[in-house]
């Protein structure tokens, strides 16, 4: 029994979201609400307290983590991962169920929490350490080690607002990495920084895992999950869908749900009410023969298409996508109205059903896994819809330039470039 570090039983968390007009976030709304309650006492609490939409971010989740185990937590955006971590790190309370934790919990939901831009690197190490729950003596003891890990020795007495974003992240992660709780709860902190730094973070994380510490590790980065964890749980729409050895869990996640690979279909329940009049239908990836695919060949062009409905005419709407690597680095951004001619022709869109289709030429992407995020907005006016994790796909580089050497090539793009070699006379 005492072998269990974390026991989660029937955990549930309900959020009230509701349309904006129904929320009572300002005093005026609350007063109006109370006024309505007073003049219609017979309708009672039931009818008026209910119009708030309730969403279960987490429902009936139960699992156990043994001491020394590194458990992965995977799931799509909105599957309840962050809510789970927030409950385990006591930031928010569950609505139902309970959790029993044996050991001191350190949680890293982001790096650099509480960093103050005006303070120097040295000062921020102390401040951030204290916020993460370290004792002052502990910070003093580890100070040199933290500075060495962060590689910002020269700038340690410079305000961090003068740091480059890379230096800032390195320092922030360095403090967090030297936290020594019995149980560590980590969320996506590796999705930041350059590739070099991410490697270092992953290295540090696997050190932590090997020291026999209990770790709960949430990530969208499946290769990190596979590398750091033996076992994972998969969350789907707030429920525990599967607990399995990590390779199996990752497979399940990548092929999960009703979405076919290479296609993302939005159900009406997934579309926030603020999106109206924009209503996303589907995002698809097609190869040059028109088939829906989740792996594209880098040597062939492919198509990203977004299908959507406008329930009312819109002016200035642009629909487009962001392309990210699996590590979260942005590769490119493109919108359907980018070209002036397109802008002039389609800036006024009547209500109706649309397909915005984009042809990506061959020889752009390097090998690996990519994520498409969808954005529908009017510049400087309103963002109607955004899904940061709409679709994932693979790029196969068979036939790409440089394939005679088997080395993996760093970089998100792998264009076919024109080289010339000239023999110069001595």
């Amino acid at each position: 029994m005492s072998d269990v570090a974390i026991r989660v039983e029937n955990l549930g968390k309900r959020y009230r979201i509701g349309a904006l007009s129904q929320r009572r976030d300002t005093l005026r709304d609350q007063l109006v609400y109370l006024g309505t309650r007073l003049v219609t006492p017979l309708r009672g609490r039931g009818t008026l307290a209910q119009p708030l939409d309730e969403v279960w971010a987490l429902r009936d989740v139960s699992f156990e983590v043994r001491h020394g185990q590194v458990l992965g937590v995977i799931g799509r955006n909105g599957a309840g991962k962050s809510t789970l971590l927030k409950i385990l790190s006591r930031i928010t309370e569950p609505t139902t169920g309970n959790v029993r934790i044996r050991g001191r919990v350190g949680s890293l939901l982001e790096v650099g929490t509480g960093f103050h831009p005006e303070l120097t690197g040295r000062e921020n190490i102390y401040l951030n350490g204290a916020i993460l729950g370290m004792k002052r003596t502990e910070i003093e003891r580890k100070f040199d080690e933290i500075v060495a890990f962060s590689e910002v020795e020269q700038f340690i007495d410079t305000p961090v607002k003068r740091y480059s974003s890379g230096m800032y992240l390195r320092l922030a992660f360095a403090v967090a990495a030297h936290l020594e709780p019995e149980i560590l709860v980590v969320d996506e902190v590796l999705a930041v920084g350059d590739a070099e730094f991410q490697r270092k973070c992953l290295g540090k994380m696997s050190d932590v895992a090997q020291q026999g510490r209990t770790v709960l590790f949430v990530s969208h980065n499946m290769s990190a999950i596979l590398r750091l964890t033996q076992e994972s749980i998969v969350l789907e729409k707030g429920r525990l869908a599967l607990r399995a050895p990590s390779p199996q869990a990752v497979d399940h996640y990548l092929s999960a749900g009703h979405d076919r690979a290479g296609e993302r279909i939005w159900e009406s329940s997934e579309i926030p009410p603020e999106a109206a009049p924009f209503q996303p239908v589907a995002l698809r990836l097609r190869d040059r023969r028109g088939g829906i695919v989740d792996t594209v060949r880098s040597t062939e062009p492919f198509v990203v298409e977004m299908e959507y409905i406008l329930s009312a005419p819109l002016t200035g709407l642009r629909v487009g996508f962001y392309l990210f690597t699996a590590r979260g680095e942005a590769v490119l951004t493109s919108f359907d109205l980018d070209e002036t001619a397109m802008f002039e022709r389609h800036t006024n869109r009547p209500a109706g059903r649309y397909l915005s289709r984009c042809l990506l030429p061959a020889d752009i992407l390097n090998q690996g896994r990519y994520t498409l995020a969808v954005n529908a907005s009017s510049y400087n006016v309103r963002r109607y819809f955004m899904d940061e994790q709409a679709l994932e796909f693979n790029v196969d580089i068979t036939g790409a330039p440089g394939m005679q050497w088997s080395e993996p090539r760093p970089g998100a793009i792998r264009p076919r470039l024109e080289w010339q070699i000239e023999a110069l006379k001595p």
Binding site: D25, R28, E93, P94, N98, R100, G103, H116, A130, I131
Partner: protein
């Protein structure tokens, strides 16, 4: 909400997390456990406050001194408000402005403290009381600096110091407790209703005129009015300051009323704060 106990057998602290309902225990001991965090938050506040300000720490002095000058011209010279005995008006008002600014700044800072630290609240666990408490205490540094000016002012007017000064720490504590009590209510409400932060400056102004800052409390009619007046805890604090430093009339009865009000406000504020605390991270 959360209880912690050390299990001898496992030698690991056990934390139980479950939903809480209604009023919950205060767990003030947690504040002590997190005293280092309080210290660092105060330290951050003090360090950051005057960074990149050309005049730096001088602002801690400029604010009360300029207010004193304005009050001396308007209320002392033009309106000729009477002071207690023959105390010069500048000293008379400055002695009141010291605890007043301590209180008003503490109230303002603690009132918006939870929303201002939303990034911490949504990412890290610690007893949320840490935030308004450190916001209130961090004003003491400014107070100490402004206090030095008072000593200079008293020397200038040849006013003697008395042993009654030893009561000042208790009076300061009362001012901070008042600010914390109101700050607990306001900060918790501000999480849900941002109206509160617009209300605070107005509230502070009204409160100042309801306290004997620019005028002497002897202007208030004797009897019941004095008791009602003393319901404002800052009345006792400011009367106490004038008594301890300038030898004005002792605040005896009003101080008792003020203290009782503060204790009541603080106790209800703590329970209210703890009750609201569980949803801070969700709605801030």
């Amino acid at each position: 909400m959360v209880s912690e106990s050390t299990v001898q057998k496992a030698e690991l602290s056990v934390t139980d997390i479950r939903p809480s309902r209604g009023w919950v225990a205060l767990h003030l001991r947690d504040l002590w456990k997190y005293r280092e965090l309080i210290y660092f938050l105060i330290w951050r506040d003090v360090k950051v406050r005057y960074k990149q300000a050309a005049l730096g720490v001088a602002w801690a002095v400029i604010q009360p001194v300029m207010t004193m000058v304005v009050f001396s011209v308007i209320f002392g010279e033009l309106a000729r408000l009477p002071t207690d005995g023959d105390i010069p008006y500048p000293v008379f008002s400055y002695v009141a402005l010291l605890p007043w600014h301590l209180f008003a700044n503490a109230l303002q800072k603690s009132g918006i403290s939870l929303v201002g630290n939303a990034n911490l609240i949504t990412k890290i666990y610690f007893p949320r009381l840490v935030i308004p408490v450190s916001a209130v205490v961090s004003g003491l540094v400014d107070f100490a600096i402004a206090f030095l000016v008072l000593l200079g002012l008293m020397a200038y007017y040849h006013l003697p110091l008395s042993w009654n000064m030893l009561w000042l720490p208790l009076l300061i504590l009362l001012a901070l407790a008042t600010a914390l009590a109101a700050g607990l209510w306001l900060s918790a409400l501000n999480v849900q209703y941002r109206d509160v932060q617009h209300m605070i400056p107005f509230l502070t102004t009204v409160w100042m005129y309801a306290s004997p800052v620019v005028y002497s409390s002897s202007l208030i009619p004797e009897g019941n009015w004095q008791v009602i007046y003393a319901l404002n805890p800052m009345v006792g604090v400011i009367q106490g300051f004038r008594w301890a430093l300038l030898g004005a009339q002792a605040p005896d009865a009003s101080l008792a009323v003020s203290s009782a009000v503060v204790v009541l406000l603080l106790a209800t504020g703590l329970f209210f704060f703890r009750r609201m605390e569980r949803t801070f991270a969700d709605i801030v």
